[in-house]
């Protein structure tokens, strides 16, 4: 199996605090992998290192066999890497349609076009509407994002992430703050993702994690403490101790 993402001994320290400590992992093409761990385990920091928003203190990151350790975030996006955010990170004062358009044109040369009205790109407008339709937000296309419900904003996050046709998708707690019904809808949406997309998902809700993925990596204090198939990991005494407390 071709490797999509390889982390070798990646460490990120903020002064005296080591958020990610010597993490090595590799993710194969089309794999669905959950990253779990208690609060403060370094999961989101790990995502930021992969997406390039933060640079590691040491270690190496490879994407499709290319060293991207120090590559700028927009260049990683151009290679096919996209992420979503635990705390919704959208353009709150723009409309749903405008948000999604920014994501769709992000990887197209047309983003430098000065001479033509954006609305005169029928194929891009059509694609954007399709994206919004896929996440069930088409009837809200004209609404301002800050007026959307939290659940709808989470759906829009997914639309933005999918708009660039990613090869590797990092989902940071896609169901955070959702009601059980919304969470079930989100899970169903994510299960329908194109199987060729490699997905890494941070998830607190074990049910959701088990439904979306088959392989699990457990982080604790910035270290990988367990890595394997679902049953192995849940049977791991160390994982049980972290999650249930020492007996």
């Amino acid at each position: 199996m071709a490797l999509v993402l390889t982390l070798s001994d990646v460490t990120k320290a903020f002064g005296g605090l080591t958020a990610v400590s010597g993490v090595s992992l590799s993710v194969g093409a089309g794999e669905r992998r959950a990253i779990i761990g208690p609060n403060g385990a370094g999961k989101t920091t790990l995502f930021s290192l992969i997406s390039g928003e933060q640079l590691p203190t040491s270690g190496q990151i490879q994407l499709f066999g290319q060293d991207i350790t120090r590559l700028a975030p927009h260049r990683r996006a151009a290679l096919g890497l996209t992420r979503t955010y635990q705390i919704t990170n959208l353009f709150p004062r723009l409309s749903v349609m405008e948000n999604c358009l920014l994501a769709v044109q992000g990887l197209r040369p047309m983003k430098f076009h000065l001479h033509r009205d954006l609305r005169r790109y029928p194929e891009v407008m059509e694609l954007t509407r399709g994206m919004l339709g896929a996440v069930g937000l088409l009837d809200k296309a004209g609404a301002t994002v800050r007026d959307l419900s939290h659940g709808e904003q989470r759906q829009l996050e997914i639309a933005l992430a999918l708009a660039g046709s990613p090869k590797l998708l990092l989902l940071d707690e896609p169901t955070a703050g959702l009601s059980p019904a919304e969470s079930a809808m989100m899970t169903a949406l994510l299960k329908q993702l194109d199987p060729s997309i490699t997905v890494l998902v941070i998830e607190h809700d074990m049910d959701v994690a088990f439904q979306l993925t088959d392989r699990i990596t457990v982080l604790h204090y910035g270290r990988v403490v367990a890595d394997g198939m679902r049953d192995e990991v849940t049977a791991n005494p160390l994982v049980q101790e972290i999650y249930l407390g020492a007996s």
Binding site: S51, G52, E53, A72, P73, H74, A77, A78, T82, R83, N89, L90, F91, P92, R93, L94, E98, L101, L102, A103, Q105, G106, L107, M110, K111, F112, H113, L114, H115, R116, D117, L118, R119, Y121, L160, G164
Partner: protein
């Protein structure tokens, strides 16, 4: 009122304003024509600044420098080399764009108030050159008796009314070009950058490059305004690119309404009018300017256009409420 009706009303309003701007001037008293001409030239500069201030979210406090570069291109070329209008126009715009290309490299390393301070300092460099490079700029005395341009047309631009029409044509061209840019995919990316630079990066945008291109265009538009400004005054001196001018331009955009080209134009009209009226009564123009600034930030942070559209929105709601 639904969306399409609002669009038609706005188009009607634009058409009416344009008709007035075209048909009115021959009947205006000279003083008002002066104000109108100055307004249109400053509006070009303010719209150019709005591209980076209102759309991209970068406050430049050195924009008078580009006006100055355009104006001195005309002043030097037209008097020492007897260059024609088109030569001075092209050189003025290119020089301003080229200087913006250098200044952009320095200023865009910073954001927010640091960006403001760097643009201010760079603007003062150009002002300093205008003052001290006496062999080229004649320093403090400025360059005078610059002839009005001859475009090879059957009429002369020496009189106020024909020159006004030249300025109006320039304004319409600048407005059309900038409007095309802000509605283009590129213009849309600028708004995205204003709203969230970090999110734009992870969506695949080279944020710096987009800001840099916008900065260049903004500088070039400033140079264009400078060319028209110099021919209008037949004179150019360091006071044309004084810090106070940079503040005035910034205030035009903030007062009129950031992120709307129309707002920048309204702001230019208000500031030009106020400046000329105030100068009749007092020398303390900067004090008044400061008060206008504080008043804008306190009472109309979105500018005049923002305040009017808010008011229209609320009065419409009230009508709905009454009729139901």
């Amino acid at each position: 009122m639904d969306g399409t009706a609002a669009v038609w009303w706005r188009r009607l309003g634009f058409a009416l304003v344009l008709v007035l701007l075209v048909a009115g001037p021959p009947y205006l008293p000279p003083f008002l024509l002066t104000l109108l001409t100055q307004t249109l030239i400053y509006a070009i500069l303010a719209m150019g600044l709005d591209l980076i201030l209102g759309y991209t979210g970068l406050s430049s406090l050195g924009h008078a420098a580009y006006l100055g570069l355009g104006a001195y291109s005309v002043g030097i070329l037209a008097t020492q080399y007897r260059a024609g209008f088109w030569t001075t126009l092209v050189v003025g715009i290119l020089l301003a764009t080229a200087v913006a290309a250098i200044f952009g490299l320095l200023a865009l390393r910073a954001t927010g108030v640091y960006f403001l301070m760097i643009t201010l300092a760079l603007g003062m460099v150009i002002w300093g050159l205008a003052n001290r490079w006496v062999s080229l700029t004649r320093g403090d005395n400025g360059i005078s008796s610059i002839p009005r341009p001859d475009l090879g047309l059957p009429w002369s631009f020496a009189a106020a009314v024909p020159y006004y029409y030249l300025v109006l044509a320039g304004f319409v061209v600048a407005f059309a070009v900038l409007r095309m840019i802000v509605r283009s995919p590129f213009g849309h990316t600028l708004v995205g950058i204003r709203e969230s630079e970090s999110r734009m990066r992870t969506l695949g945008y080279n944020v710096w490059l987009h800001k840099y291109i916008a900065f260049l265009i903004s500088g070039g538009v400033g140079g264009f305004a400078g060319v028209l400004w110099c021919y209008y005054n037949s004179y150019v001196s360091p006071s044309d690119l004084d810090l106070a001018v940079s503040i005035e331009i910034l205030l035009m955009v903030a007062l009129g309404g950031r992120g709307t080209l129309f707002g920048a134009t309204i702001g230019a009209a208000v500031i030009v009018l106020l400046k000329n009226l105030v100068s009749v009564y007092t020398q303390r123009w900067l004090l008044i300017l400061g008060l206008v600034y504080v008043g804008t930030i306190r009472y109309a942070p979105e500018g005049i256009v923002g305040a009017v559209s808010d008011w229209a929105h609320w009065s419409r709601l009230r009508l709905l409420w009454r009729s139901s």
